[in-house]
Symmetry: C3
Subunit: 253 residues, 3 copies
Amino acid sequence: MSIITLLTDFGTADSYVAEMKGVLLARARSAVLVDVTHEIPQGDVRSAAYVLGRTWHRFPAGTVHLVVVDPGVGSARRGLALSARGHCFVGPDNGVFTPVLHDSEVEAVALPVPRQASSTFHGRDIFAPAAACLAGGAQLGSLGLAFDSMPLRLAYTRPVRAGQTVTGEVIYIDRFGSLITNLTPDLVPAHAHLLVEDLDVGELKRTYSDVASGGLLAYVGSGGSIEIAVRDGSAAERLAVGVGAQVRVSLSS
Amino acid sequence: MSIITLLTDFGTADSYVAEMKGVLLARARSAVLVDVTHEIPQGDVRSAAYVLGRTWHRFPAGTVHLVVVDPGVGSARRGLALSARGHCFVGPDNGVFTPVLHDSEVEAVALPVPRQASSTFHGRDIFAPAAACLAGGAQLGSLGLAFDSMPLRLAYTRPVRAGQTVTGEVIYIDRFGSLITNLTPDLVPAHAHLLVEDLDVGELKRTYSDVASGGLLAYVGSGGSIEIAVRDGSAAERLAVGVGAQVRVSLSS
Amino acid sequence: MSIITLLTDFGTADSYVAEMKGVLLARARSAVLVDVTHEIPQGDVRSAAYVLGRTWHRFPAGTVHLVVVDPGVGSARRGLALSARGHCFVGPDNGVFTPVLHDSEVEAVALPVPRQASSTFHGRDIFAPAAACLAGGAQLGSLGLAFDSMPLRLAYTRPVRAGQTVTGEVIYIDRFGSLITNLTPDLVPAHAHLLVEDLDVGELKRTYSDVASGGLLAYVGSGGSIEIAVRDGSAAERLAVGVGAQVRVSLSS
């Protein structure tokens, strides 16, 4: 009984996710399906990669992760199935699998495009069938030809140190309006202040209740990087900033 | 281990879907529950029928499809359970099952209304218990008396040909703002142009990447009919049209 | 094969729910996961308690209910696992379990906070592991020390009778804009009128179709208390009222 997770930008109002689930269960009758999310902004490969990076390793080894955020569907972009760190991944070769493409243990195959596949819904016609095969125990090599190059990887901006300042950025904003940054705790010494676009947020706190309701705080988030939030509110709204906004660590304050 | 799919207009913020799932699992402990969607617009039987028509046949034979879009709940409208094409369906007799009412092989029974059933939530008190029975292997005939007439069917507008023009309409708009029409590919010869409310969309393309980002295109959608979309955008917003908008095939262009 | 229900304010757009599900399935591989809702308004313990109160008893005995609406995460508020009425419950001790804290049969333990737990995501690091243990058959007493006091209970306003009027209030508004009140049917004799903030809604009706489309009505809701709705519309919008609005029963009309 394999687990198959689903991560898409399809939303949940239409038939698309259910069409994929029907295909999955018709071919892997005892698979356990788990929705990661279907609310990735349309075509936002970077957000999808972020969410995948936070979730895949929480599932048991052998889980198949089906990711369909695929703005290039039907184009020359390849479809792939890959095996990495004891898990399987299926979806478009557009960088969305970057979080698991760390080492040489990755094995990837290019999925063929059957003639009858819809040109706009490879999730249903190519990726779901491949995921069902893997969930049913098929060998990766039986699904397609080995990749002749590495799957695509997204380039990430890394925090930069200059003088007494380390400059990072907001990489994701969650439903609470919390700003998730690419700054890691090791870049924030004791008593250093965090600044979002010149607004001083103060030193790192431990949790929301370390400030009053409505207060702004920085802390080590549950994903392991620095986050900026408003207790019982939205930092994204309060500060009117989005993904890409500068977040600085001031080492001299 | 039967599959039960759920298709409602209940949304996912309240307790209603979970109340039904509790009833289903209390009576069919090993059923596999699959959400189709709960975001059908309130009481929109036509949209529910469209989504059902795209999904039911993707699931394995024997699946029970529970559909609760039921603006007439508690009125004289009948509740039904039916068997068609190897699948079972349970819900109100308001036309929502039109996509599977094609032939004489349909068998339908009217579900009795127990005295203790809530007058506003037959999904929980009548339809879910019936679906659980069917998932557990009960015979359709054990759930109620055979229908003395056919279940209700929605009337659909069909495309009309007049001179060098075939006129169809938008029947559904998805979360991406794509306009799904009732025009089938056989009505669109090579080099014919598609027009939405007089705007020329050009010839059929194959997929989104056949136009530049922001470009408007027509193509054969994954549901089998012609769709109009904006690559990386929303055709519904761009064109400011809704369900019922005219879409024409110009055979002379 | 235990059932674990999930009830949170995390939304479904981010990774949080899936991180919890990964933890649950990694530790209770054959558990059946059921989403109650993840759309409780941020930190709204009262709404979460209402939804829990409507759903838990629909599930089979032995179900584990994981509730993470936890504005005090990381503070001194305790985390608990409890057993009541044949079901198990896991989450913060902030009143969210009020609906099941009726009698002396409640058994509760305080969950320890491991050093490596995130200070902002006990749902993943403390509550999900505890729920998985219970789903796997662990004894409640093995998860922590018995509570030295009763878990927190929310205080509810009860309807008040004065002269010929019983005054209650709106306690929840659902996705349809229906106003759910704390008035029970026994407080509404035949021919009594319901009034929302001085607007006369008339006598109790049986179901929506007892009024014309767009009509306002009061009826006994599926949760057992009096509701006010607009057929095919939203009473909350029409009347511009929210939770806490007065709803009166006029015994003299």
